[in-house]
């Protein structure tokens, strides 16, 4: 398969870049070893658009963070995905913390973050009455925002796809050789060739880099574990609440999500296997204890699920973005840990600019807008719901009762340009099973709809690809035949 540009990694960075490149006259493919786009770090993170006070002045992190944050509102509007500027507080409990907050404030100002202010504990509690009484100081960050990282990534992929980008999933890069002016990429699904090659592969980026470059990077998967709470409880905080950061990152947050849930997390533990997203009891307990420092009233009663995600921590602690020095027409985005989600749109623009310059690409005349997406049923007014059901009766069938997801929306999730092919893929695109019953009622129906739309047997439907099948057989299957008849 021949392409002009191949992007390895279908996370938020890879999909952002693919979308940028899709607006040029060039032939682009994205390959990823996972079963779905957005299956690595981009799927399970805090979903925060960081204001940019945290990254050290002059670092790549600071540069792309601030620029990414600036791009977000219009990007989300264009893609029709949620973006909510809910603001943030970084809270402190001691004089030491107060010093750190001052440093962050100054750093933020230097980085160009607007509207920052230092406030005392009482002012902080006036803004967020559920804060611990022990909070003595806080950095108020009104420009901090929240998004849905996977909805964004799916929308980026869809927009790229309608403008011609091809996505090859379950496609693992095994080797890369530059021969006679072309990259030859060996994968488990055959060979791809490309004039340019971009490595956006998250926790695997160092491994992929070793295929093409002598310069060695060390990426340590750093796991974060989270609790998600039922959205039926009133939000304890309207803002994202950070604790004063330490060495291992931004600490445990308590934050609303764009869907009205609250989450607690993440932890931060270095692990060996970047694909291991197991949760652990000790770490979850740690997260809960830490969260209670922010929110003493937190209880396990409202937990609907726990999960983990891995960040790609590069040894030197900064992003590595740009041309690969010792390989021709090769580009990379390495070590994209927090604030990677925030930075992604800016990283994509930077890489796109380099590629456009090197390859002398022209902008397309006819760029298609992002595919139209209907307002989610749960957010519609009764009038809108009546109208939607009149136009498409499938809007009259609620499949997921907790999140009020209709059959129409589930079918649409499967039939998007980069459509869902598994229960989890549907869940992240349209939310059935994201609520308090966690799919207990709706998963059986989602399974049937998947089988129908994909024209496969129900026995082939998976939770998340591969061997993650839901069912093992039918009641009429008799192993070894019947001994009586």
């Amino acid at each position: 398969m021949e392409y002009d540009i191949i992007v390895v990694g279908a996370g938020v960075v890879g999909c952002s870049l693919a979308r940028e490149l899709s607006m040029y006259n060039t032939n682009v493919a994205v390959i990823d070893k996972a079963y779905d786009v957005c299956d690595g770090s981009s799927k399970a993170n805090s979903g925060i658009v960081h204001a940019g006070y945290d990254a050290e002045w002059g670092s790549s992190k600071a540069k792309y963070n601030v620029e990414g944050a600036r791009l977000y509102p219009s990007l989300c509007a264009e893609l029709n995905v949620p973006y909510k500027r809910c603001g943030a507080l970084v809270v402190g409990f001691s004089d030491d913390d107060k010093e750190t907050l001052k440093r962050l404030y100054n750093q933020g100002i230097k980085n160009g973050v607007k509207e920052l202010s230092l406030i005392d504990g009482e002012e902080a509690r006036k803004l967020e009455p559920n804060l611990n009484k022990k909070v003595t100081c806080a950095l108020n960050v009104p420009t901090s925002a929240i998004i849905s990282p996977y909805e964004l990534t799916y929308a980026l992929a869809d927009h790229a796809a309608v403008n011609g980008v091809k996505f090859y999933l379950e496609t693992e890069l095994l080797d890369a050789q530059f021969v006679d002016g072309l990259w030859h990429l060996k994968t488990n699904k055959g060979e791809f060739t490309a004039k340019a090659f971009v490595n956006c592969s998250g926790v695997n980026a160092a491994k992929i880099n070793r295929l093409i470059s002598r310069k060695s990077y060390q990426i340590i998967p750093r796991r974060g574990e989270y609790y998600l709470l039922d959205r039926l409880i009133p939000l304890p905080f309207e803002r994202t609440i950070f604790q004063t950061p330490g060495r291992m990152g931004k600490g445990v947050l308590v934050s609303p999500t764009v869907h009205g849930n609250t989450f607690l997390g993440p932890s931060s533990n270095d692990i060996e296997d970047g694909s291991d997203t197991s949760t652990t009891v000790d770490v979850l307990n740690f997260v809960f204890d830490k969260a209670r420092l922010t929110w003493p009233e937190a209880t396990m009663r409202n937990v609907i699920t726990t999960f983990a995600g891995n960040r790609a921590h590069e040894d030197h602690g900064d992003f590595v973005i740009g041309r690969v020095e010792d390989a021709p027409k090769a580009y990379q985005a390495l070590g994209i840990e927090s604030p990677g989600l925030t930075a992604a749109p800016a990283i994509a623009v930077e890489l796109k600019n380099l590629i456009v310059e090197d390859m002398q690409l022209d902008k397309k005349d006819n760029i298609l807008p992002a595919p139209h997406r209907n307002k989610p049923f749960i957010d519609m007014t009764d009038e809108e719901r009546a109208e939607a059901a009149k136009k498409d009766p499938a809007y009259g069938k609620i499949v997921c009762r907790c999140e009020q997801v209709t059959e129409a929306e589930i079918r649409a999730a499967i039939n998007r340009p980069v459509g869902a092919r598994s229960i989890d893929a549907v869940k992240r695109r349209a939310r059935p099973g994201s609520g308090r019953c966690q799919g207990g009622f709706c998963s059986t129906r989602v399974m049937e709809i998947l089988a129908e739309e994909l024209k496969i047997s129900e026995l082939e439907v998976t939770k998340s690809g591969g061997e993650s099948k839901i069912l093992t057989g039918r009641i009429e299957d008799v192993e070894g035949g019947c001994p009586i008849c």
């Binding site: 998976t462 993650s468 299957d477």
Partner: protein
């Protein structure tokens, strides 16, 4: 949008909703509508193909589908309108109900009375905070039961079960008979919350071990479940290091509790109980909002459908009385959980005023642990008004007492408290 009036709108066409409809009709209200989200009536009974329903109410043992059919036939015979495949989206405190389906689209009903009969749901895996991966092969027992009994699929071949509630026990037998291997059942409590009959006939009959005071501490498996680790727990329900046992299995079924499904009730600002997770009701099953009633598992989780039907029949009658302006007017007193008692229902009681006839009131609750030869005592203020000896009380079985009408007639204006004295 078309707005329609209906005298009594019943949300849920399971055993509670059907019995409430029958009760309301028999009390003289004709304009009733039962709304059911699934494509057929009968609720969860449809997938409960096992035996053991109906002994109390019909004096014969039936399977779930047979029990449900009794009420469905009765509803049809009485000519009560039902609307299946229809989801109620919201109810407000003025009893404006919004529902939607494929055929009619969005519908708005202004109801004279609303009966909440939405039932309950299973506590999911995610809420348990169990360590490990998020692989496939982990089901709540009821979901697995639906796959097997209503869809004809086998969800797994080598099964471990967490929680010894009746659904878990029933599924242990069901999966075994269907050719799967059930390796064991872990129960975090020192006793099973299931019926003895189910322990004997679903586990012992098939040699399936029951690990009391054990819980699943970890699940393993990259894509499909590959195994679980269980451990013994101490009296604080914390796993004891060194007691771990590993099981290789492709399926974990969960039977770890049922939760009344009250999202709609909360939308109507009905006052809720933290103990039962259901609405707070008076002895006519009326919630804190006038004309909104609740019955069945949405009110409090029952063990036997027979009692759901009894309770719901009464709620239906009370809703009909509300429509006919015959709701009791007496002074309201609170009913409180006393020593050893959890989740008294009803939580409020009306002392009849002059001219009103008192009726017997059934008081239901769960004991907080197992009691043998204990006494249940009821106090009205400081006065003991009723006392009864109970041979056995267990948390797995809802207990009840009947306060006779002469007791009700003579109540003082002071809270009622129910105690267990061992």
């Amino acid at each position: 949008m078309l707005e329609k009036h209906v005298d009594i709108l019943i949300i849920g066409g399971g055993p509670a909703g059907l019995a409430a409809a029958i009760g309301a009709k028999e009390q003289g209200v004709d304009d009733i509508l039962v709304i059911e989200r699934e494509d057929s009536l009968g609720g969860i009974l449809g997938q409960c193909i096992h035996n053991g329903f109906g002994l109390h109410r019909f004096k014969v043992e039936m399977t779930g589908p047979e029990y449900a059919q009794m009420d469905i036939d009765k509803v049809r015979e009485l000519g009560i309108p039902t609307l299946c495949d229809t989801m109620v989206l919201s109810v407000d405190e003025n009893r404006r109900v919004v529902a939607i389906n494929k055929e009619q689209g969005l519908m708005v009903f202004n109801a004279g009375a609303v009966i909440l009969a939405m039932g309950c749901r299973e506590r999911p895996f995610g809420a348990l905070g169990i360590a490990g991966t998020r692989c496939s092969g982990i089901f709540s027992a009821g979901t697995a039961q639906k796959y097997v009994n209503l869809m004809g699929f086998i969800p797994g071949k080598k099964v471990f079960i967490l929680g010894s509630g009746d659904i878990g026990l029933i599924m242990a037998r069901r999966m075994t008979l269907q050719g799967s291997e059930v390796l064991g059942v872990a129960e975090i409590m020192p006793y099973s919350s299931g019926l003895n009959r189910n322990i004997v006939q679903c586990l012992d009959d098939y040699g399936i071990p029951l690990y009391l005071k054990h819980t699943v501490i970890e699940v393993r498996g990259k894509e499909r479940l590959e195994g679980v680790t269980i451990a013994e727990v101490d009296d604080m329900r914390k796993p004891i290091p060194g007691t771990e046992k590993h099981f290789d299995c492709d399926t974990l079924l969960l039977s770890v509790g049922l939760i009344p499904e009250n999202e709609l009730s909360q939308g109507a600002n009905v006052e809720m109980s933290n103990t039962t997770s259901g609405p707070i009701v008076d002895d006519e099953f009326q919630t804190s909002k006038a004309g909104i009633f609740a019955c069945g598992n949405v009110l409090h989780v029952h063990d036997l459908v027979d009692f759901v039907s009894d309770e719901s029949m009464k709620a239906g009658k009370a809703a009909a009385n509300f429509i006919n302006k015959k709701t009791k007017k007496g002074t309201i007193i609170n009913m409180l959980d006393g020593k050893g008692v959890r989740g008294v229902v009803p939580q409020k009681l009306k002392i009849p005023v002059d001219g009103e006839d008192a009726e017997n009131v059934q008081v239901m609750f769960r004991p907080d642990k197992v009691y043998e030869n204990a006494r249940v005592k009821v106090y009205n203020g400081d006065n003991e008004i009723y006392s009864v000896k109970k041979r056995i009380l267990a948390p797995g079985e809802m207990a009840d007492i009947i306060l006779k009408k002469d007791i009700i007639q003579n109540l003082q204006n002071a809270p009622i408290r129910v105690d267990i004295e061992s």
